[in-house]
């Protein structure tokens, strides 16, 4: 049963307000060497192969990312299909 791991991140050109808050908190805890924090989303999908080969599943996952899992206007994504 293929498992898919999807990571969605805010585009680097956009200020990550949440990340900045966490960065400030890390600085307050004494971790002054943290130069930037960016927060993303991590999703795990359990799929059934239904006779599809790896490239077909990859294509399907890419479509899911473009349509729903990420908003290409503001986010980048990457994924990994584990057969």
């Amino acid at each position: 049963m293929p498992q898919v791991k999807v990571v969605v991140t805010l585009k680097p050109t956009l200020l990550d307000a949440q990340g900045r808050v966490v960065q400030d908190a890390l600085h307050a805890l004494g971790y002054g060497n943290v130069e930037q924090v960016r927060i993303g989303k991590y999703m795990e999908l359990e799929m059934t192969a239904n006779g599809k080969d790896a490239p077909a599943i990859e294509a399907e996952v890419k479509e899911m990312c473009d349509r729903l899992l990420a908003n290409p206007v503001i986010e980048n994504y990457r994924y990994e299909v584990i057969a």
Binding site: L14, A17, Q18, R20, L68, N71, V73, I74
Partner: protein
């Protein structure tokens, strides 16, 4: 299931207020249209598939489908959204307020996106907006440059888009509202969420779809602190009347 209520009888343009699960400004939108303006209005359930007979469609504020994943990301695929898209493509009027604006961006009926406020705070307060273009179906009741007091209530209202899109919108006067001081000056301090160029509301290229983060439906009567929001609904009723005439 259909949770449709019938508005007052009467001619003229008819408004639809879309009800998503998690919507929480649907009743305020219904109220300003029916009781403040005296216009016919009905709720339309998100599972419905038709907007036949409606002239103006309002996507109200709230947290449609819990705003899981991203605000508006799941609502965009609600069955009613095909009808909203078809209505917009026919030239029908569509207004998205707050969460409704987020849904319209996710549905690509408006460009750009709305992301977490720059200060990470949920902003709930009166702000001032300058009317940038008063020659649209959404703003014709206002004077150009008029400053309105209208409340905001959002955690993810920072409008962003790529520079080319912004330039194109500026050139074609599609930015309808900008956050300003009470005097109408655009300053960093008057920008409550970090939106680019203090953008509070935009229209599509054909000026029949508009999204705004502030809540005009919450500012329809003096007793609520401001009646400045009424003009948005009055403009829409007037524009829809012209189409029907």
């Amino acid at each position: 299931m259909s949770a449709t209520l019938i508005g007052p009888a009467g001619g003229g343009p008819k408004f639809a207020v879309i009800r998503f699960p998690g919507a929480n400004c649907d009743q305020d939108s219904y109220y300003i249209i029916k009781d403040v303006l005296g216009r016919p209005v009905e709720y339309v359930w998100h599972q419905d598939t038709s907007l036949r007979g409606f002239d103006v469609v309002v996507l109200p504020g709230g947290f449609a489908y819990g705003d899981y994943l991203r605000a508006g990301a799941v609502a965009r695929f609600a069955p009613i959204m095909n009808a909203v898209r078809a209505h917009a493509e026919r030239g029908g009027l569509v207004l998205g307020i707050c969460n409704g604006f987020q849904v319209l961006c996710e549905a690509h009926l408006l460009p750009g996106a709305l992301i977490r406020n720059e200060g990470c705070r949920f902003a709930c307060k009166f702000v001032h907006l300058r009317v940038e273009n008063a020659e649209t179906p959404f703003t014709s009741a206002y004077r150009p440059g008029q400053v309105l007091a209208i409340p905001i209530a959002h955690g993810e209202g920072r409008y962003v888009c790529d520079p080319e899109t912004q330039q194109e919108m500026e050139r074609s006067n599609r930015v309808l509202f900008r956050y300003t001081t009470p005097q109408g000056e655009e300053t960093p301090e008057s920008n409550p969420n970090g939106s680019i160029a203090n953008i509070a509301g935009i229209a599509n290229a054909t000026f029949n779809v508009m999204g705004m983060m502030p809540h005009p439906e919450r500012a329809g009567e003096k007793i609520l602190g401001s009646a400045d929001g009424r003009g948005v609904f009055e403009s829409l009723a007037r524009a829809a009347e012209r189409v029907l005439a």
